[in-house]
Amino acid sequence: MLEHYMIQGSSYASHIDGLVWVVLLITTFWFLLAEGMFFYLLWRYREQPGKKALYINDDLEHAIKYKWVEIPHRLILICDVAVILGAVSVWSEVKLSMPVTDETVRITAQQWAWTFRHAGADGELDTADDIVTVDDLHVQLGKTYKFELAAKDVLHSFSVPVFRLKQDAIPGRVISGWFKPTQAGEFDVQCAEICGIGHGIMPARLYVETPEAHAEWIAHPTHYLAYKNK
């Protein structure tokens, strides 16, 4: 469902969307069943002259309860297990695992800007050719990135909707994660945790570039804060 609203830009975006599909099917079934039954009963048992309501004694209640409560109870349990399995597997892939990554990018959030430290030409972070940018994140299509997220002042949240990625940044902590872009283009990075009066003016741009374009950018970076050309 989500793919109609937001393009799938990372390797795991389709898995999250698949999970949403599973939840959508299960919940829609139960929702329609419940609402359908609800409105049917409202129509069927509306007040009619001369008709008295049914009195349900304990024996009858016990019999009906099996049909109305016990069976749905078990069916919902099965549905829950399906949802849990899907949720845990997707969660484990996105948040628990750390695949072998090609490059690391360090992200620092502060009121109200993002600082991105790119590895630069040598692919190693914390070397002389690192490219530090503000509010511009450049990544290469198809490469697996590890990110290290930190915050300087208050809580922020690094959210890239096309990646289906979101992670809060907490001052004092370094939180890691990974992504693998699969769609070239220019996308939003948003702050998704209220961070003061400038929360609404804390956007950043994500540039997913083909290997050639990315190499070109590394050679001639734009909008950089710190960059030492050899």
Binding site: K95, L96, T108, R173, V174, I175
Partner: protein
């Protein structure tokens, strides 16, 4: 209706009978409590960690039990009152257990609490710690050295996550 009909004499018949002890009983309990207090203060003087913990917290539990049972009369109170208090203690325990992976530990899967780790470094400690703290401090110093090598922009690299 005067209000003192409600005093102790007016308990309705279905109430739990409240055992009334003689004053001597309470004084005896108090004497035990004071003796336990003396043990809990002198125990740590041996400066053995196990003994300190046992005398400090083990005896606190015993004292709490004695006060609750004999002074608060929980032994003769209705069962549901005891259950209520135990459930509340259980909730505190639940909170503690579920929160400890994030607060008590300073690293976990794909995250590390740099500032809490840096707080453990020995430089910030004015006086030397106990014997048992030494190993921790050494570890803290190693972390610190690593942290110091990290760049200045406020996000030191720390690959603790991959270790898991």
């Amino acid at each position: 209706m005067s209000s003192h009909t409600e005093s102790h004499g007016a308990h309705s018949p279905n109430e739990a009978p409240h055992a009334t002890h003689e004053d001597a009983h309470y004084i005896k309990i108090w004497a035990i409590l004071v003796a336990l207090l003396v043990v809990s203060v002198t125990g740590p003087m041996l400066e053995i960690r196990v003994v300190t913990l046992l005398t400090a917290f083990g005896i606190a539990v015993v004292k709490a039990f004695l006060v609750a049972k004999h002074f608060m009369h929980l032994d003769t109170e209705k069962k549901f009152v005891v259950q209520l208090l135990v459930v509340c203690l259980g909730l505190v325990f639940l909170f503690f257990m579920a929160t400890s992976p994030d607060i008590m530990k300073h690293f976990g899967m794909n995250w590390v609490n740099e500032s809490a780790k840096n707080a453990n470094i020995p430089e910030k400690i004015v006086h030397h710690g106990g014997v048992e703290g030494a190993a921790e401090h050494a570890e803290g110093a190693a972390e610190h050295a690593e942290g110091a090598a990290a760049p200045a922009e406020g996000a030191p690299a720390h690959p603790a996550g991959e270790a898991h």
